[in-house]
Symmetry: C2
Subunit: 204 residues, 2 copies
Amino acid sequence: MTAESATAEPARTGRRPGQSGTREAILNAARVRFGEVGFDKASIRSIAAEAGVDSALVHHYFGTKQELFVAVVQLPMDPRIVLQAIAAAPLDNLGEHLLRTVVGAWDSPAGIGILAAFRSVIGGGDTTLFRTFMLEVVLKDVRERVDNPKGSGQKRIALVASQMIGLLTVRKVIEIEPIASMSVDELVELVAPTVQRYLTGDLP
Amino acid sequence: MTAESATAEPARTGRRPGQSGTREAILNAARVRFGEVGFDKASIRSIAAEAGVDSALVHHYFGTKQELFVAVVQLPMDPRIVLQAIAAAPLDNLGEHLLRTVVGAWDSPAGIGILAAFRSVIGGGDTTLFRTFMLEVVLKDVRERVDNPKGSGQKRIALVASQMIGLLTVRKVIEIEPIASMSVDELVELVAPTVQRYLTGDLP
């Protein structure tokens, strides 16, 4: 691909542009900044400065900061597809929707990549980046929706993360039966009450 | 250590004996058999045959089959200490006891070793052995106690495993707050209802 065709592309697709050296420099700078100061405090401006490029070029190659983060963690699928499905769910039914959408993603063809990324993180990878990804990309909107009483949102989503991550591990990594072979419907029926309690139940 | 002093030791401590070649041969044979046919079907006799030694020597070095298994998975602590505490708990309170005992083990000095073993398994280690360990050593007695209605025990402990493993990951590996820094008491209060429902609640 030439630099010209890269420029002709819409910026928000985040596809590989021609100037792969620049793209790599931005990715490396983003990895450093996100790792050092976290997602919120890492500005596009500071990442651009670290990479020695203009902020506009970062936006051109990667779109938003969230999209840049997704590129840094090299996800096998765009989490926004999952997130849109979750955002549309009513609050009193959010546990079931969250579970059905996320388990559906694990069971999809992209699931192999998700699993590989997860195993690599737990096996000794960058847990800071993974934590940031979970909190600032996957669970950020949910946290704001379930922050009731005020200040409980972070505790709620940490609990949800504990159940979801454990389910991923048991279903896909350690493969404990019957969870490993169970249909999504059955799994959702069993675990949704837990996730819903963490999201909206009375917590001590 | 000489062979003589090893013989003088009580067999059940499982300490390193003088004839470390034999000990290693037994461990290797056990690793192969447990991995191939699982904990239940791997007899001491078949492990001894595979190692080219007498069964009595296996018992002398390692004690029971469960103790041999613990030696194979190289646990940093003896899981029977944890299991005894859990066995003493009444059924209607088992979730809280299980959680308190297991989180206590993670938070103890031995927790670093538990965590390292866990991360190594998830990162690409022997998941078959880990699954066997979870099902045949850690959760076997619990499964029998919660098998009500008959046949539901395996589903119940798989669900418990999903919550416990996820909690370990969030508290100790990814370190998502407030779970990472929460007191054991607070964590138990939040999560015990989940574990108790999985153990004894009405499941679909």
